[in-house]
Symmetry: D4
Subunit: 256 residues, 8 copies
């Protein structure tokens, strides 16, 4: 740890500018008080950008439009990038009223401010079918917010196998690949068999009957016989994008 | 229906060789009494060969060796082919003692007599990995018993995709393809995407953890995005072979 | 394989009409570029009719009306038959506006163009009760689109066992039988016990409570003690019809 | 209620043979103290025969042989019939050592003393296949113990439909029918469709794969489209026999 | 069987009033043609009243109002009692328009005609809480339609144990007891422990969270440690009433 | 027991003011008749306050507004505190019309009268995120109704671990802690690891995909490696509050 | 917090007996280094007794006998009570060799040292049947180890309801009640309805078929309509005893 | 692609050293024939090292010792590293007989040859408890085989929260962290909240009752509220190690 704030505090104590009791109080408070912003009816973890590399993301479901606007305002004030997922029309409207330079994606149901810096790395986002697109778009928006270069490939499901073969060249050299698929969720295994990078599989609730709203795809992906496939929650486009972006970010941060 | 036995009976009645009461008794008995062989502690449906095209198959699990031997004896006496599945070592021993010309497959855990006739048709049996082999062999034994031509392809799982591409020429022209796979069960979808014949998918209990003893593979196969894939029970190699053999049998029976 | 296009290409190279580099480029492109039609926001696998025997079918759920119309337009241009399943009222309206000769089935929620040729083969579609009819109709529409002869039998559930006995004569001689049932899903087993052809069982979500939206019927069908029963996904009328049609098609194609 | 013991107590009080305090003590004790036999490490509800019509049954699983012997001894002393289910070899041995006139059924894993009285009523116990026999035998033993007339029919599963038709005459006139079946559990529905008496369905764990140790059969039976079918727990041969015996017992008790 | 119609037919044949071919045709047709009424888009099993003791019941879900009216009309013409369950407002309206003497129960969502005869037997219907009432009422309506005497007891859940004790006298002497309960479904076990008659347990979907829409109650009832408890499907008030009515009906039919 | 009413009754009998028959009748009636209020279409267990320490709580779901008002009226007449949970807007309106001094919480969907007495004890209610607040508020309202001191802490989920560390001082010295969390439900384990008092964990249905409407959180909490964590039903804020209040109530009742 | 160790450290720094750097190092180390004992292949959290009120408990499953002996040795050296659960015969033997004064319970599969102090409080442990006894005994051993007074009641399942009524007086005045039950798990609801103290319900895996190794009992207990019932994991006798002991401990600690 | 072999082939054709037919045959064969080693009863994908970066791994379960030895022999001959997982004692014995320089880990049940090169990168493997160690060791062995630097931390479960805080400094700077946990599976969320690198969560089947052999932990991890957590199959230590190694490998390969 070796926290500079502690060193300052001890020096101030030694300098006689602080009583022993006050030094202990400040020391203990410092150790437990995170830089959390207390808002009207929620808290915002402003420390997260430092601790985890990226700011806290707003999961908008169940929050009032006012709360979402307040959270974006605080993040902007703190100079941090902002991303909200699962945003309702009403919340989008409120955000749009307040911020003129917001990037909104209605298919992905996201809103974001990104930091102005050139994109780094390359993540491919692959969607088995058209219906998996909202989840794939949520992953893409997350990658844009993280400042990661990314591209989308759609409609390469295993029922038409030559379509994927045709796209293999585009997959080469990616830092990581996000694959979104519903129904039997076989696509991540098939992609994983052709490439040498990590594949983040995100099952979608596309399908009917024994697809059980994504459970069949989830189980398929967890049991993938390809070793380079890991899995996130059903419909968790954000998390898949975040994982892929994190991998790309750390690889390219080293190089710069 | 127009059952010839009924016609005979009515004629005998008209001929005065039968009383009205006796005619009615025989008529009603005939209608409900199937040609069932009552054995020591089970029954054998000898009529099935006529009604369904193939004789009753012996599911050996839970039967005594004596019962299995008795059932094979009756089938042989009736001139019908015989097949027993899920046969224990003790049952195999008892069968082997009694019949010198039995075909035994210890991997598939089957025993059979087949009718002496040249094989018809061509069914391919594909197993994703070595561990799926017992189920694939059960399908093959069933096909041999039905008199259907068949071949086995092993170790073409999706983690090594070029292995399947190399085998595609052998799959062309098949009457039907049985695909046995565990884990995520993606192989039938992938095979189904390349061929134009019916694919009978049989999930196996190969795998661990969230494979749930074949459930993941079962769900994957049921949700296959390939339209030419239907599914049988987990580890049901017999049923997969039977379905494929039935399709081949009827197609080639027409031609001869 | 022995692909004629490859032969042509090599000959052109030998004839000096193509540079070595260009020959290799065309060769490699040909090997990976499937004849896919890239549409506004989806792709259409025009090669499928050749590879699998029948064109790609449009699963309409989640697509815009414009996309569905565009897909039908391309299929017609390519001279292929067209079928869309799970079609919404809005999509039907858009298709109807554009094509005057479309066959629409509102119970089945399908729309199709068929090729003009006399129906081949005979598939029986059996529905346990009136509520299973939409799924049975989806199977029938699929069979019409494939050019397969087919008939419907409704309301022969096992609670009134003589109703099925009365229909047995109609089942005789079928190429394959589709059986749609919800609740306990016992009908395919019962039908399978009487006939000698493949039975494609399709569980429906009809029922309540422990029917679990088709799961009870699905499990019942997977565990059928009749050997000639295979299963497709819950409510998958299309897939059941397709499997049955494929079996009939190949049997009768041989004969003609 | 109008309990004669209370009346006696009040009369003794009025007769001055009991103090008020003692009367109240005895009254309150009587109201809460059931005639339970406290044994070494269990209790025996001797009152149950009066309250429920039949004595408590010994579920032997997890009990020591000594405990089972002690329970049988107490029931015999109380002049009550005795039945133990799920009995181990070791327990059977201990019971056999102690009682010479015990009826033991090793297939059903039961031991019993019955009261000497002519059987009343008629319950049919139907088992789909040979493997369902242990459960069917447990039901039969329970019926014998209750003094109910009963018969067994085996091997009439739906894959050979004419076998059941041949047995229909034996089912006519039964007070109740117990049907034990595993796999898809379709037999109770089929039986229920032919008869006019209550059918007690007992799913068995016979089958493999998606039979899920009786779950498929259980769901099938719960969703039976026949209205006269109710269900007991998987492998609960005892409970099925008890329910059927209770129905027969009450019907015939009225008549005598 | 000894079917009088067959005897007549054989006599007519012997009398020369029928050709052999025509006799056989009529004989075979008679054997397979049930007295089914073919309606616009469904069938009605008019034979069921004779075969099973009570007419076919109309499960109204998914039927058009016109179909339901047509079915009631046919049952009335055949002089049979009529009962429809899961009836929608629209269906009720259509029935009400057509028949002035219909008994409608909006809580139970049923409509019925009963035969005019004095009620026989006594079945108690017990509902754990107010929310279980619709299911209990469906059972009561079924019992009224069957002509069985019945009474309702509500709000005697196990959280207030003395409420049930107070009602025990009313339960004494019942032919059978229906118990409807949701949540943990403990009430049938508790009732079963106090009485000597069959208890038909019907789990309801009342509850939330881990009640899983009736699954918790269903499992509780299946595992009841009381031997006189059997179970029907979740929310299957009709089936519970039918089973109880059947038991009462047969007991009292014997006595009259 | 030693019930004074029984003593009085016996004395009246001895005094000759009661016949033996009448004494027995009154005695038996007294033993089984609980002080239940029979309302229009439900019952109210007025005895519960004495038996269990707190009055019966009204689970409003599925009751008419009139019934809820009637139940509150009776509780007020009996001088008992009143609490209704899962109250609809319509029910709230009806209660508000009738009682001017009701405490309504629209987030928690509760209405209550509390007894006027100073709060006792201290229970902390912790909610992982903003979306878990309705459940946490239901627990708080229950605690207010019981007269237990309580406080709320929100937004201390494990993704921002220092937020919980900052709140540890407030958790110290609590009688019990209620922790409401959805998604993976890890918070109760983490809280349980830091404190020495009982933790009542309530899983919420917050989350999506494999959260399965609270099942993931429920399983997480049941398997907590912290020994001081017990669990209530999904979304059961009332029950969590009640358990915590009961623990606090009994501890402080001893001290006063 | 106000940790005296921090104050000492700051004073030593001010006294010049520590360099600034060393003070910071010691300060930071102190904050993160828990008093954990590092053993051969595991760690022991010796701080837990202070933080949580009771020492760490040894879950013996999967540990070597040597590790278990080492853990007990360290706890004894630290003057802390010791409890090991799920102990194998081999582990018991090793412990017994090493410690002469160990309390071993082979039914509960536990071993323990307790602190010598008079038991405080009173917890009742109720087991529905004899087979639930191992789990109940594990709870009792845990209570003995905690120094809590406790008693066992066995064989009061709901099938013999008067047995529980007879034991109600013993339940009165308990600090908390542990109820262990398998099968339908109804007993905690029934007990909860009669008492005014917290009930800790522990489902056991006793039962068969749809008991699903404790799942039915678990669901029943989670959905209990009694408000004073909370639940721990299946077969978690230790955790149930711990929760009950914690409640009793804190209540009586206040009084002394 | 631009495959040099194709160029060579075309040049040979142009040079007249190959007939057109032979050129086409070789071309097509080359395109589909992967460098697969055909062994006695399995295949080995030797091309995988080139395509995916690491050679095929031997999943030993269900293979004969001879097959495993043969596979290792081929990999060594091809100069590739070798790893076998889920190795039985018998297989280990056979490998040990044949190869003297094998690295065997009996806790992890693995055997391997690694390539001789200095380890790159740093992956931390964290196990919640001692029982999770076999899975953690499988991950470590995989990392050793990949040539990745790695360390193990054990016994930092959430019930003793300060133990993890003490290890945080070791987690800093890792390329990726593997976290293995059973029971509620909360540890990956807690770790994820403190670090800025990818966390690969592997649920283990440690626990009992509602742990459902790893399902509770799996669901907990999938629903993690920490964004940097992805999941692999239950007990899939190999896959978790492979994913982490892949991330580290690519990051450091760039730098060298």
């Amino acid at each position: 740890m070796s926290d500079p704030h502690i060193r300052d505090l001890l020096q101030t104590l030694l300098a006689g500018q602080l009583s022993l009791t006050e030094a202990q109080r400040q020391l203990e408070e410092h150790l437990v008080q995170p830089p959390t912003a207390h808002l009207s009816d929620t808290q915002l973890d402003l420390e997260r950008a430092r601790r985890c590399g990226f700011p806290e993301v707003i999961y908008a479901e169940g929050k009032t439009p006012a709360t979402v606007v307040e959270l974006f305002t605080r993040l902007r004030e703190a100079g941090q990038a902002a991303l909200a997922t699962r945003v309702s029309d009403e919340q989008l409207h409120a955000l749009h009223e307040r911020f003129s330079d917001l990037v909104i994606n209605r298919v992905a149901r996201t809103a974001r401010f990104s930091l102005q810096r050139p994109p780094q790395g390359r993540v491919m986002v692959v969607a088995a079918g058209t219906s998996d697109r909202p989840i794939a778009e949520e992953a893409l928006e997350t990658l844009h917010w993280m400042g990661t270069g990314c591209e989308l490939i759609v409609d390469v499901g295993v029922a038409g196998p030559r379509r994927l073969l045709a796209e293999l060249p585009r997959l080469e050299g990616a830092d990581a690949i996000v694959v979104a698929a519903g129904m039997e969720g076989a696509l991540p295994s098939v992609v994983g068999g052709w490439v040498d990078c990590p594949v983040i599989a995100v099952p979608t609730s596309v399908g009917y009957g024994a697809a059980f709203r994504g459970v069949a795809a989830l189980l398929g992906m967890l049991n993938s016989c390809a070793a380079n496939v890991c899995v996130v929650n059903i419909n968790a486009g954000f998390k898949a994008g975040y994982m892929a972006g994190l991998i790309a970010h750390r690889r390219h941060a080293d190089q710069t």
